[in-house]
């Protein structure tokens, strides 16, 4: 023969016990609400903010590496990077496209004119930058041709006098189509226009839209554009930092330091940086509130136990074992903690969403956080209820029946 207590009865008794003093329960819950709310807000906010900053450096940007190569120190010195080194770079693991170009110096753009004279009023001579590029420029600059075609390796090898116009350059020159074999004169030298580019996708290469692009061989012959000055690399996702480190050596084995590489910032580093900054203090604050909340639950449960001494005695007289008494107060404290966790998590999530909406951010809510927060509240309640529950269980029935005081 043993005393027993159905689990459903245990919960019913605990809930009834909590419901006895709603105002007190609400105040007790408040501490946990504040603690859990602060924690959820902090974690949710730093995740959201971190995502926001990382989002600016989206997946595309994160795969672009640009290398700038300064011209040789003297006119008779060899180029710092040979055109052929680009193929070495292209062979690196993680590289998806490589292109290089040499261009006219800013301020020394040659005058360019088209032969398509339709509007006599139009001033046809334009100073436009000229770019001598490798045939792989389209992919590396994330652009495409809107009309015609781009030059290929054959054009480069044959040193053909062909040109591809950036969309703005084409507009300025009045070239709208290429099927009629228009020509442009760059510093008086004729080039056949074989294509017009569409928009340029690579953010740091927008000036290509305004340029006249010719094979680098032809450019060197006719306009003395010189050795490669800029190398554009696209990489597989996540490979950019590694390629950025390897590129100088691949391009200029003798003098890697001469190559200046621009790589996207590491999003992971950004994310943690933000999390560290924003969260540190608030996280501590949340933990402090949670501790205060736990102490509140412990204190109130202890007071409740003392107040309900006679009830404990009665329950013992009715056959409740020590563990039944302990369980009841433990469950009461746990439910109070759980309530605080649920309300706190909801308030925290709401705060994160509202901040995000106000700043037009995308709220990032971790499911584990949403589920874990109420659980954390329950654990806080459980721990806080431990001592009062043991005190209640330790009471002697006779003493308890005499009541408090």
């Amino acid at each position: 023969m043993r005393s027993r207590l159905d689990i459903r009865d245990l919960f019913a008794e605990a809930v009834a016990g909590i419901g006895t003093r709603p105002a007190r329960t609400a105040l007790t819950v408040l501490g946990t609400v504040l603690g859990i709310g602060t924690l959820v807000t902090t974690l949710g906010f730093s995740a959201t903010a971190g995502n926001q900053i990382a989002g600016r450096f989206d997946a595309v940007t994160a795969t672009e590496v640009t290398a700038d190569i300064p011209p040789p120190a003297g006119p008779d010195l060899p180029p710092r990077v040979e055109w052929g080194a680009l193929t070495d770079l292209a062979r690196l693991n993680g590289v998806t496209a490589v292109a290089g170009y040499a261009r006219t110096q800013p301020g020394q753009e040659p005058s360019v004119r088209a032969n398509t004279v339709r509007d006599p009023e139009r001033v046809l001579d334009r100073a436009l930058p000229v770019v001598g590029a490798t045939a792989s420029l389209l992919g590396a600059a994330r652009t495409g041709v809107a009309h015609g075609r781009f030059f290929d390796a054959g054009h480069v090898d044959r040193r053909d006098r062909v040109a591809v116009l950036g969309p703005q350059a084409a507009e300025q020159l009045g070239v709208t189509r290429v099927d009629n074999q228009p020509a442009v004169f760059v510093a008086g030298k004729p080039f056949t226009v074989i294509g017009i580019l569409g928009g340029v996708g690579r953010a740091n290469q927008q000036e290509l839209a305004n340029a006249v692009i010719v094979p680098w061989t032809t450019g060197d012959d006719t306009l003395h554009l010189g050795p490669v000055g800029t190398v554009l690399v696209t990489t597989a996702l996540g490979a950019a930092p590694l390629i950025a480190r390897q590129a100088p050596l691949a391009l200029s084995p003798n003098d890697p330091a001469a190559v200046q590489v621009v790589a996207p910032p590491d999003p992971a580093a950004l994310r943690t940086g933000v999390a560290d900054d924003v969260s540190g203090l608030l996280l501590v604050l949340g933990l402090v509130s949670l501790t205060v909340g736990a102490l509140g639950i412990a204190n109130v449960t202890l007071v409740t136990v003392m107040e309900r001494t006679a009830e404990i005695g009665l329950r013992r007289a009715l056959g409740a074992r020590r563990r039944h008494i302990a369980a009841q107060f433990l469950v009461e404290a746990t439910v109070v903690g759980l309530l605080g966790g649920i309300v706190g998590a909801s308030a925290g999530i709401l705060t994160v969403v509202m901040i995000s909406v106000a700043r037009e951010w995308t709220p990032v809510l971790d499911g584990r956080l949403a589920a874990g927060a109420p659980l954390a509240g329950a654990v806080v309640g459980l721990v806080a209820g431990l001592y009062p529950a043991l005190r209640a269980a330790a009471m002697q029935p006779v003493d308890a029946l005499r009541g408090p005081g």
Binding site: S3, D6, A310, E311, A317, L318, R321, V398
Partner: protein
């Protein structure tokens, strides 16, 4: 008939300065279906004896056999189980839970026993019916008169279906009509085989009992009716 209760040389002393000898070598045997009343002046040790009999307190000396089982050697869990299953209490100060309604208070009587969960409410209603409180079953105890509270406490004890019913001044708050009703109920219970031990100051109550014992300064003596 077998003895339900056998006390031999029970003593209970409370540590105080000077120590309070609440019970001194009490011998008592109670048979199944007995109706025993305990009388004596205030502070003589009646409640202390009832606590010992109800397994709420452990005597310092002596032996207490309940239904043939020596209880002074039992652990807390075993005593609790025996208490919950076999003994019902009606306390001097009712001990009703103020925030639970009458039915819920009575249902507590079967909460910790192996009685089926199902039908607990019905059993509570039946117990309330027996004490004539069906019309008050949804009330809060705080809204009841003293006599009604007493009867709720009795109903709660009955809900546990005890073999031994221990009552401390069960009619202390009742008028003569209600007292008579409670005494009739006791007679019924007795007829059903329940053993009753009642502490009382009331001559009518102890007069209806089958036996009477008196405690004076912790000493128990049998009294002729």
């Amino acid at each position: 008939m077998t003895d339900v209760i056998t006390l031999t040389g029970i003593g209970r002393t409370f540590a105080a300065d000077p120590p309070v000898i609440a019970l001194e070598s009490v011998d008592l045997s109670v048979r199944r279906g007995d109706y025993l009343s305990i009388v004596g002046p205030s502070g003589s040790g009646k409640s202390t004896l009832l606590n010992v009999l109800g397994l709420l307190d452990v005597p310092d000396t002596g032996r207490y056999e309940l239904e043939g089982e020596e209880t002074t050697v039992l652990g807390d869990a075993a005593r609790t189980a025996l208490r919950g299953a076999r003994i019902g209490f009606v306390f001097q100060s009712f001990h009703l839970l103020a925030h639970r309604d009458v039915t819920e208070n009575v249902m507590l009587g079967g909460l910790y026993t192996s009685a089926a969960r199902k039908g607990r409410r019905e059993r509570a209603h039946a117990a309330l019916e027996r004490v004539g409180l069906s019309h008050r079953r949804d009330f809060r105890p705080t809204h009841l008169s003293g006599g009604e509270r007493q009867r709720v406490a009795i109903a709660r004890a009955l809900a546990g279906n005890p073999a031994l019913l221990l009552c401390d001044e069960p009619t202390g708050n009742l008028d003569s009509a209600n007292t008579a009703a409670v005494l009739d109920l006791f007679d019924e219970l007795r007829a059903d085989g329940t053993t009753l031990i009642v502490i009382t100051h009331d001559e009518t109550v102890s007069g209806r009992a089958g036996r009477r014992v008196r405690i004076t300064d912790g000493y128990l003596t049998q009294e002729p009716l």
